[in-house]
């Protein structure tokens, strides 16, 4: 595919990127097209406003948090590499590869996805989800008619359930232990480019 190669050559360090994230060239090209479509001013970087232009994100209760997760603290733009790196967390998992404990954790493993989700809650990056942070997330995900007291109750009970070491906050380890029942899909698909990639559907594990 001539167009794929020509697009690939436009991206610097593309081999390294593919190696690190595990995306195929076709995926990278697709993501690059998407990046360019979002980057309306052709600066090569994405700003929060560019993400804000995605209308559907505005209809997502945690949309803004996810946008925020793309930007490292102190940075106000995202370049293509960081963009791809973050999306790589959600690449379909390679079920074929045997789990090799000596190798570093692959980018799209379950743990990295959980870490990403953890980041959404933990805005001050202290490694723990405090009661206030949980309250914030809850508030954004619940309808407006829920009262503050009800919210606080829910937050309290949630921390009670999940907090194992009684420090009134949820650490990453405790976060991991929460079983995901209904969230069967931890990844997304690439549609027609996806022929070679194995199907996702990581089955729920129930305790």
């Amino acid at each position: 595919m001539g167009s794929t190669n020509s697009t690939l050559s436009k991206i610097p360090n593309v081999e390294e990127l593919m190696e690190e994230t595990g995306f195929t060239p076709a995926h990278i090209v697709r993501l690059y097209d998407r990046f360019e479509a979002l980057d309306k001013e052709k600066t090569g970087h994405l700003r929060p406003q560019d993400f804000g232009a995605i209308n559907r994100l505005a209809m997502n209760p945690i949309g803004d948090r996810i946008i925020g997760a793309f930007f490292s603290p102190g940075q106000e733009t995202v370049d293509f590499h960081s963009f791809v790196r973050i999306l790589a967390h959600f690449r379909p998992a390679d079920k074929k590869h045997p789990k090799d404990p000596s190798m570093p954790e692959p980018v799209n493993s379950r743990t990295s996805k959980l870490k990403f989700a953890f980041q959404l809650y933990d805005q001050d990056k202290d490694g723990k989800i405090s009661r206030a942070e949980l309250l914030q997330v809850l508030r954004s995900m619940l309808e407006m008619q829920v009262t503050e007291e009800q919210l606080e109750s829910i937050a309290d009970r949630t921390i009670q359930e999940a907090d194992l070491d009684n420090d009134d906050a949820i650490s990453f380890e405790e976060f991991r232990k929460v079983p995901l029942g209904r969230a069967r899909r931890l990844t997304y698909q690439h549609g027609p480019l996806q022929h070679s990639a194995p199907r996702i559907l990581s089955q729920p594990h129930r305790k």
């Binding site: 993501l31 479509a37 700003r47 929060p48 406003q49 560019d50 993400f51 804000g52 232009a53 995605i54 559907r56 994100l57 505005a58 209809m59 997502n60 209760p61 945690i62 949309g63 803004d64 948090r65 996810i66 925020g68 793309f70 603290p73 959600f90 989700a117 805005q123 001050d124 405090s130 206030a132 914030q136 997330v137 508030r139 954004s140 995900m141 619940l142 309808e143 407006m144 008619q145 829920v146 009262t147 503050e148 009800q150 109750s153 829910i154 949630t158 359930e161 999940a162 929460v178 079983p179 995901l180 029942g181 209904r182 969230a183 899909r185 997304y188 690439h190 549609g191 729920p204 129930r206």
Partner: protein
């Protein structure tokens, strides 16, 4: 003319006057004129009676929850048919095919096309076509062949039929019926993808049904011997011609309608009428050319909706919408009532147990097999695979209805000796699917979904986690453009913007194509309406004057109602409002689970269908979307404002504005990123004010920029400051940097809400066109506790404003 053909002397016997024929001997004061008017009278009477039936069972709402409306209407039809039969000893009224196909069906199809959620439809068009074309062919072929096999095997006894006739029968009964499907699926809330697949399939399979019906009918006439490869190839070609031709006719008429609405600005009174007439003509034209009329009407509605909604005045649009619903709903009611009545007629009944039972069985089984097979194939290529439950519902939702009945009545008795048997079987099939499957559909779905949901989520943390993941995945999909963005769609959008908008839409309509503008507009109208309603309840709108007092008063008196509107984050007010909640907090069995279940925002996947035959408004999930959108926009606005306020002095703005104004203006029009949204909104109205182009706004433009309730300023500042050495976003946007643990600082917008919940000025914050300068100030005032710097800007800003007034 149809009812006339059937109406019997027994009815005419009521007419005593044949007065026009006899010579009169004296001046008659009053004449009984039944003979002359009985036809329109009967028509009107039947329409009235059918609609009254609907009224009858609406009186008992529990009934409609169990049995779908269509089923109830059929039952009432039976009752009425029984009465008439009892009176006349013969069934005087039946559903005639001509009436059905030309007077009752077109408006249903037009309504379906007009209200179709286009994005969803075209996004899933591939899947829909697969189900409609291949699925229907599969159903027809398997049913025909299976029945033929059974007939050969002697299971049906001695009936005079053959392979071709059975194939014909299979083809007419194979098609899923749009009328029946919608009637049932409306009661059952399924997710939007499933809905559109079944709905789309039921509409588009007409192309196949018509072709198959005509082809097999012709084959039967030709006789089995003359069918060779040429004929079969002709049959296949005719499919493409009929289907594609029908769609093209529809598209042509859609173009005509759009062009017409461009010019009807001065005759807005009858503007809505054109839609109906042209829609009907598209149906008739396709029928005249022996193309697929349903496809034509559907595509006419689908293609023109966007342009006519933009071109026509709002009142015309709502007229069209309401009238369509009246016609469609009315037709549907009449159809089902007559389906019931037509059954009470012994002359049409021929009972052959084997035939009927086998048909039912095969329809059911082959539908499921077909659906599973096709879905398995489709899932290899789909972005979001259809899961098992959805397939089950789709298979179960293959209802047959009046279209099949109408087609079977069209058969020629001489060619089809077993026509009566086919009619009987069709009626049985229709009743079975509509009533039985209709009644059991909802419990089935509920049971399946409940079964799914009950599997997990024993703890609160799990529940929250799951929901967060759902939202997260949807967001990542949106960001990476998996759903909604692809090459073809971009191409189409570009083509549309370049050519079609110019051709088909009025200049004013072209400007307001921004989707965000529409949402804001709707939100504003909703806000304003609830504000007025609240005012009426309070007796007068005077409460707006005493903002602080009204605030507290509301909470105390109407606390329960207002809890929906205000989120109270300040504990002191909270205590007053929710005394009952205090008790709840103390009691042990506070059902947090239930609360989460009720109030967590649903992700996009979960039921949100936008088409409803019964209601004019979309269902309540739209409210959720709007609420989320509103909150997101507010919080973005707040964070943006707090980042921007007081950073750059106002003087700087005017200078930059004048310099870069043309470029910024153009930019603003094409992008819809959130701060620029307000500029876009704003510009549309300024366009209305000054007929000349943007450039002409010139020096007044920056002044008008201030009018936009202060929102425009920060946005412009953003643009300006990108050229600045100090980039504006250097400080981390507050949605990232919420380091304060103290919850009272959390979201300033909520506190703003608390202070001035429902004042016109607060509402106008979102409104693009401000009618007074006052709004600007109060907007800033509202946020003054959060951002002190904002106030200092006030004196500067009001000055240019005063220049305008």
């Amino acid at each position: 003319m149809v009812l006339l053909a059937i109406s019997r002397p027994s009815l005419a016997s009521e007419a005593t006057g044949n007065g026009t024929e006899h010579t009169i001997t004296t001046l008659p004061i009053v004449i009984w004129k039944w003979e002359e008017i009985h036809f329109p009278y009967l028509v009107a009477l039947w329409v009235l009676v059918s609609w009254l039936c609907k009224l009858v069972f609406q009186l008992n709402p529990c009934l409609t929850r169990v049995i779908p409306e269509s089923g109830l209407l059929i039952c009432i039809g039976w009752v009425l048919g029984g009465i008439i039969y009892g009176a006349d000893k013969v069934q005087t009224f039946r559903l005639q095919p001509f009436t059905f196909f030309f007077y009752l069906l077109p408006q249903i199809v037009l309504d379906a096309g007009y209200s179709m959620p286009n994005k969803l439809f075209f996004g899933n068009l591939g899947a829909i076509l697969v189900y409609a074309v291949i699925g229907t062919c599969w159903n027809a072929a398997t049913l025909g062949l299976a029945l033929w096999g059974c007939w050969l095997g002697g299971a049906m006894g001695n009936i005079d039929t053959g392979l071709l006739q059975l194939l014909l029968f299979g083809s007419l009964i194979a098609a899923v019926d749009p009328v029946a499907v919608i009637a049932v699926f409306e009661e059952v809330h399924v997710n939007e993808v499933l809905y559109i697949l079944v709905f789309g399939e039921s509409l588009l399979n007409d192309g196949v049904t018509v072709v198959l019906f005509n082809v097999f009918d012709a084959f039967v006439s030709l006789g089995g011997a003359q069918i060779d490869a040429v004929e079969i190839i002709k049959g296949i070609i005719s499919f493409f011609v009929v289907a594609v031709g029908g769609s093209l006719v529809g598209v042509v008429f859609a173009l005509l309608i759009s062009l017409l609405t461009r010019c009807t600005k001065n005759i807005q009174i009858i503007e809505p009428g054109f839609i109906f007439v042209l829609g009907y003509l598209s149906y008739l034209t396709a029928e005249m050319l022996s193309l697929s009329a349903i496809l034509s009407c559907t595509f006419c509605g689908v293609c023109c909706q966007k342009y006519i909604n933009a071109n026509m005045d709002e009142r015309s649009v709502s007229t069209v919408r309401s009238t369509m619903k009246v016609f469609a709903n009315g037709s549907e009611t009449i159809i089902f009532v007559f389906l019931g009545i037509s059954a009470i007629d012994p002359s049409i009944w021929v009972w052959n147990t084997a035939f009927i039972l086998l048909t039912l069985l095969f329809i059911f089984v082959f539908r499921f097999i077909g659906v599973f097979l096709l879905t398995w194939i489709l899932n290899q290529y789909r972005l979001v695979p259809l899961d098992f439950i959805d397939q089950l519902v789709m298979g179960y939702g293959g209802l047959r209805g009046a279209v099949a009945y109408g087609l079977v009545l069209l058969l020629d008795e001489n060619k089809y000796k077993e026509k009566k048997l086919m009619i009987s079987t069709t009626l049985i099939v229709v009743y079975f699917t509509v009533m039985l499957q209709g009644i059991t559909m909802k419990p089935l779905v509920t049971w399946l979904k409940v079964k799914r949901a009950a599997v997990s989520e024993r703890t609160l943390a799990e529940k929250i986690q799951n929901r967060t993941f759902d939202h997260m995945l949807v967001a990542i999909e949106d960001i990476s453009g998996q759903i909604g963005d692809n090459y073809m769609r971009d191409k189409w959008n570009n083509f549309e913007e370049k050519w079609l908008y110019w051709l088909l839409m009025t200049p004013i309509a072209r400007k307001s194509c921004d989707p965000i503008f529409n949402i804001f507009h709707k939100l504003n109208i909703k806000d304003a309406t609830s504000y007025v309603k609240e005012g009426e309840r309070r007796g007068s709108l005077a409460f707006v004057r005493n903002e602080n007092k009204a605030d507290v008063d509301f909470n105390k008196k109407f606390g329960a109602d207002f809890s929906e509107m205000i989120r109270d984050s300040v504990p002191s007010v909270c205590l007053d409002m929710h005394e009952q909640d205090l008790k709840m907090r103390e009691s042990e069995d506070f059902d947090a689970h239930h609360l989460l279940q009720q109030h967590l925002y649903k992700g996009r996947k979960q039921h949100r269908h936008r088409y409803s035959r019964k209601q004019l408004e979309v269902n309540k999930d739209e409210h959720e979307v709007q609420e989320i959108f509103q909150r997101t926009m507010r919080s973005r606005l707040e964070s943006f404002k707090s980042a921007k306020m007081g950073v750059a002095p106002p003087k700087k703005i005017s200078k930059h504005l004048k310099k870069d104004q043309p470029q910024k203006v153009r930019e603003a029009c094409t992008f819809s990123s959130f701060p620029l949204v307000f500029i876009t909104i704003f510009l549309e109205f300024s366009e209305g004010d000054s007929a000349s182009g943007y450039e002409a706004a010139g020096g007044s433009f920056p002044m008008r920029a201030y009018r936009g309730a202060g929102i425009v300023n920060p946005a412009f500042m953003a643009e300006m400051d990108t050229m600045d050495p100090m980039p504006p976003m250097q400080q981390i946007p507050s949605w990232l940097a919420e380091t304060e643990v103290d919850s009272s600082n959390m979201v300033p917008s909520q506190r703003a809400q608390l202070r001035l919940p429902w004042t016109p000025s607060n509402l106008r914050r979102l409104a693009p066109l401000c009618l007074s300068t006052h709004s600007n100030d109060s907007f800033l005032l509202a946020d003054s506790p959060a951002t002190q710097e904002g106030i200092s800007d006030l004196p500067d800003k009001t000055n240019p404003l005063k220049q305008l007034t």
